[in-house]
């Protein structure tokens, strides 16, 4: 039985069961919104047939997106729908389905860019159908959308969650070809995922529960298998999670997880090196098992907050719910936030350290990373405020093939405002100094960056026009490269009628990479937000980029040689209609 059939059957059975629970029909009410968005993109280059291709299109030519997000209330039922989809495939990190961009209905439904979710709820029972982004915990699942069916039950203090679906759509492998020139399609197995949570909860007080997440690639889901190293995988995670909040403002968080991960289901079944975990996992030679721990404690006061956390991820800890999780590390972080000086000063600070390569499988040494950050905002007077921040990142791997980098960044941002009977003025400045030193194979490089920005914002009390003006200077010096950038920007918003808001922005900048002449760039954008009717809004924005290279990219380098200065013009149109129910 395929997934659409399973979902329909699940829904039918559940409605039949729940129909007895309904009382008298009550009026139907509907909330939420729906909309349609269009993004258009055009790129013209001079010379048009330049070789090498010096600038690539960065958006699809046409992109339609639709959303339908009403929440329907019928009697005791509350039915939120979440449909957000686009018929056009733009996938990069997951494979597109074919060279022509065609996809089957199933591939369309399970494309990660699309959402088709319904969550009818009655009392403490919630049914989950279609695409759902479910976060159970930090060590089990939470990042991916899964298309399928499930249920959340909350009788009394019990919390029961179950879901079954597809987290990765099936895509057939297509080999690269020379005629016609094509990179082919990488391909992917359909990944089925089962998830469950069983716990006890008192809202705002505590939660304790166990999470199960199992995923397995379905070998029969495609007719042309991807090439190694894209192999069919299997993964299972069991985690215990508890969270406690006390009346005195203490918060505790503990999660312990264990994962089983088979990198390649085509490898031989074997109870060595990892024993089976029956009935869930039959081990292969490519199966491994490892653990992870997350601990956290925080205390919240009236004008302050402080916390600390500790995380450990074993080198073999994997979860399909967070497929890009960085493992083989241990870290601690302390952070605080407090008000001082009669609440005129607000401080946010954190410091932490991360150790990597705990298993030593990437060399004999641990990697060490320091993260420190402090941000201080002070409201000296009603008119004058200042924000100061300092960030430090350090990363170190000792040894002959070692590596070291240190980044220090200091930023100061004063702002002064004054007011008269007709208008207010705001002047804000930002200066950032950043130093980035890097040592690779005993060779050190230095990067120094300075940025200055000054911003002036006048606000007229009796006019419906609000402009702003800014100037920016940027300089980056690195070995053999010095980059300077000067930029002037002006923006304006104007409300010619109560329901329409016009916006425009003009920016001109010069960027110079020594010893070349400057690249010139003009960015112009305009648009409006218009409440056409009480519930209908139209947003429109049009942007034009005109870019002309200096001697950094001479036309004489092209084949055939181009006599002028290479450049491009780029136009982007984004518009959307939104209706609120």
């Amino acid at each position: 039985m395929n997934y659409p059939t399973k979902i329909a059957l699940f829904m039918a059975l559940f409605l039949a069961f729940e129909s007895n629970a309904q009382e008298k029909k009550k009026p139907i009410s509907i909330g939420g919104d729906m909309g349609i968005w269009y993004d258009g993109y055009g790129l013209n280059k001079a010379p048009s047939s330049a070789v090498p291709d010096f600038y690539q299109a960065r958006r699809p030519s046409n992109l339609f997106r639709y959303s339908f997000n009403p929440t329907i209330a019928v009697g005791k039922w509350n039915i939120p729908l979440n449909f957000n989809f686009s018929p056009i495939q733009t996938n990069l990190t997951t494979p597109s389905t074919s060279l022509g961009g065609k996809q089957s209905i199933w591939q369309f439904l399970t494309n990660p860019v699309n959402n088709f979710g319904i969550r009818p709820k009655i009392g403490t029972t919630e049914i989950l159908l279609g695409t759902q982004y479910l976060k159970y915990s930090d060590l089990s699942t939470g990042d991916l959308g899964v298309f399928g069916y499930g249920v959340n039950l909350a009788p009394g203090k019990f919390r029961i969650k179950l879901f079954n679906g597809v987290s990765q759509r099936p895509v057939n492998y297509l080999a690269p070809t020379i005629i016609p020139l094509s990179d082919g399609v990488t391909g992917a197995y359909q990944r089925n995922q089962w998830m469950g949570q069983l716990g006890l909860e008192k809202e705002g007080k505590y939660f304790a529960g166990i999470n199960f997440v199992k995923s397995i690639d379905k070998l029969s889901s495609i007719s042309s298998a991807p090439l190694s190293p894209i192999d069919p995988q299997e993964n299972m995670v069991v985690s215990f999670l508890t969270k406690v909040t006390t009346d005195k403002g203490w918060n505790y968080h503990v999660e312990l997880g264990q994962s089983f991960y088979t990198r390649n289901l085509n490898t031989p079944l074997s109870s060595s090196p990892v024993e089976d975990f029956k009935p869930f996992i039959s081990s292969h030679t490519s199966t491994n098992k490892d653990n992870a721990v997350m601990l956290g404690i925080a205390k919240k006061g009236k004008d302050w907050e402080a916390g600390a956390k500790f995380n450990y991820y074993g080198a073999g800890y994997y979860t399909a719910g967070y497929p890009f999780m960085n493992n083989d590390r241990m870290e601690y972080l302390a952070n605080t936030r407090f008000n001082a000086w009669k609440k005129k000063m607000n401080v946010v600070a954190s410091i932490g350290q991360r150790f990597g390569n705990l298993s030593r499988i990437s060399g004999p040494s641990l990697t060490k990373q320091i993260i420190a950050n402090v941000n201080v905002f002070t409201q000296f007077t009603d008119r004058f405020s200042m924000n100061t921040s300092f960030n430090n990142f350090g990363f170190n791997v000792p040894g002959f093939f070692g590596y070291k980098s240190v980044s220090n960044e200091l930023s100061v941002n004063p702002a002064y405002a004054w007011i008269n009977s007709e208008m207010s003025h705001l002047i804000s400045g930002t200066y950032t100094w950043s130093k980035y030193d890097e040592t690779t194979l005993n060779v050190m490089t230095n990067n120094n960056t300075q940025t200055a920005l000054i911003l002036y914002v006048p606000t007229f009390f009796n006019k419906k026009i609000s402009p702003d003006f800014s100037l920016m200077w940027f300089r980056n010096t690195a070995p053999s490269i010095t980059l300077n950038l000067l930029s002037a920007t002006s923006g304006v918003t104007w409300e010619p009628a109560p329901k329409i808001n016009l916006k425009a922005q003009l920016q001109y900048n010069l960027s110079t990479m020594a010893p070349f002449t400057a690249n010139k760039h003009l960015l112009a954008t305009s648009g409006f937000d218009w409440d056409i009717y009480k519930k209908l809004t139209w947003q429109f924005s049009m942007t034009v980029n005109l870019y002309r290279f200096g001697t950094e990219l001479p036309g004489s380098l092209f084949t055939p040689a181009y006599s002028g200065s290479p450049g491009y013009s780029e136009s982007t149109l984004r518009t959307g209609l939104q209706y609120k129910f």
């Binding site: 990190t93 090196p273 499988i361 990437s362 911003l455």
Partner: protein, 288 residues
């Protein structure tokens, strides 16, 4: 007796063509890229039993034994006259190999060995396991790469719109351990469109930026040239670095994806027009 052993050995020759830098996951040694084992069998007059077992011994760089296969549970192969080809996984016998102490624990946890120099010794034995009919030892070096960690903009950070629409600096750590071949980093930035989750944008959208960094550098200065003061677009981004080898193929890291992409980070664009807004100014720039 010595003569018989010589005759018996003369019937079987073992050639262990092991890649000196095989894939770090031992279960991957079934792949031809790791090499192959060839056992040539010539029918002899004195002893022509075609049935053999393999005994595998793993040694460290000093020659100390760190793992031995169990000869009793080893598979019996019946050799065909002439050339018999096997994968290196057959030589390694992972399902039958017992490593010592911490290495066995590491193998269970990660499927890999600690980085370093090793030797693989394979002995072709008779089925009783008391006569060595051929033997060969080959050295190999194991290392696994840890993909770069994204440093700046840090995950959860907020950038000023006036600055960000002109310049955004991306920084990341080096590939660990440093590779002697020329590797390439590609910076990829995806816009998170309204109504999308960050991972949805990462998995489904076309990147706004997909450009290589200058070779040998771990920094990329992006001139976005995007309008960021407007509230309708370019408000949230997710970015990553893809690490490619000299041939342009992704370097496998520690994650499940084998795409060479580092764990992505999210950053937001805030318009500092509301400079006097105390609450906005004190958003925690590093949320991990």
């Amino acid at each position: 007796m010595f003569l018989i052993a010589q005759v018996a050995r003369a019937q079987i020759t073992l050639n262990l063509a092991l890649n000196n830098r095989p894939q770090p996951w031992l279960s991957d040694w079934v792949n031809p890229v790791n090499g192959q084992m060839i056992i040539s069998y010539m029918m002899g007059a004195a002893l022509n039993d075609p049935s053999v077992k393999l005994k595998t011994t793993l040694l460290d760089e000093r020659g100390s034994i760190i793992g031995v296969s169990n000869i009793n549970s080893a598979r019996i192969y019946t050799l065909r006259p002439g050339v018999n080809q096997f994968s290196i996984a057959d030589a390694l016998q992972l399902q039958n190999l017992a490593l010592q102490g911490n290495l066995q624990n590491l193998l269970q946890r990660t499927g890999r060995l600690t980085a370093g120099q090793y030797q693989l010794m394979v002995e072709v034995m008779n089925t009783r396991g008391d006569v060595v009919r051929a033997i060969q030892t080959r050295p190999f070096f194991i290392t696994s790469y840890q993909l770069p960690i994204l440093m700046q903009p840090a995950s959860g950070s907020s950038l000023d719109a006036h600055l960000a629409q002109n310049i955004i600096i991306f920084r990341w750590t080096n590939l660990i351990p440093s590779s002697q071949e020329l590797i390439q980093y590609r910076v990829q930035v995806f816009e998170i469109l309204p109504g999308q989750t960050a991972m949805q944008a990462f998995r489904g959208n076309r990147p706004l930026l997909d450009e290589p960094a200058i070779r040998g550098t771990t920094q990329y200065i992006w001139r976005p040239n995007l309008p960021m003061l407007d509230s309708t677009a370019n408000k949230q981004f997710i970015w990553t670095v893809q690490t490619l080898d000299a041939e342009g193929l992704p370097i496998p890291g520690m994650d499940m994806n084998i795409q060479g992409r580092s764990e992505p980070a999210i950053f937001s664009i805030v318009n500092q027009m509301g400079t006097m807004d105390m609450k906005r100014k004190n958003e925690d720039p590093i949320k991990r």
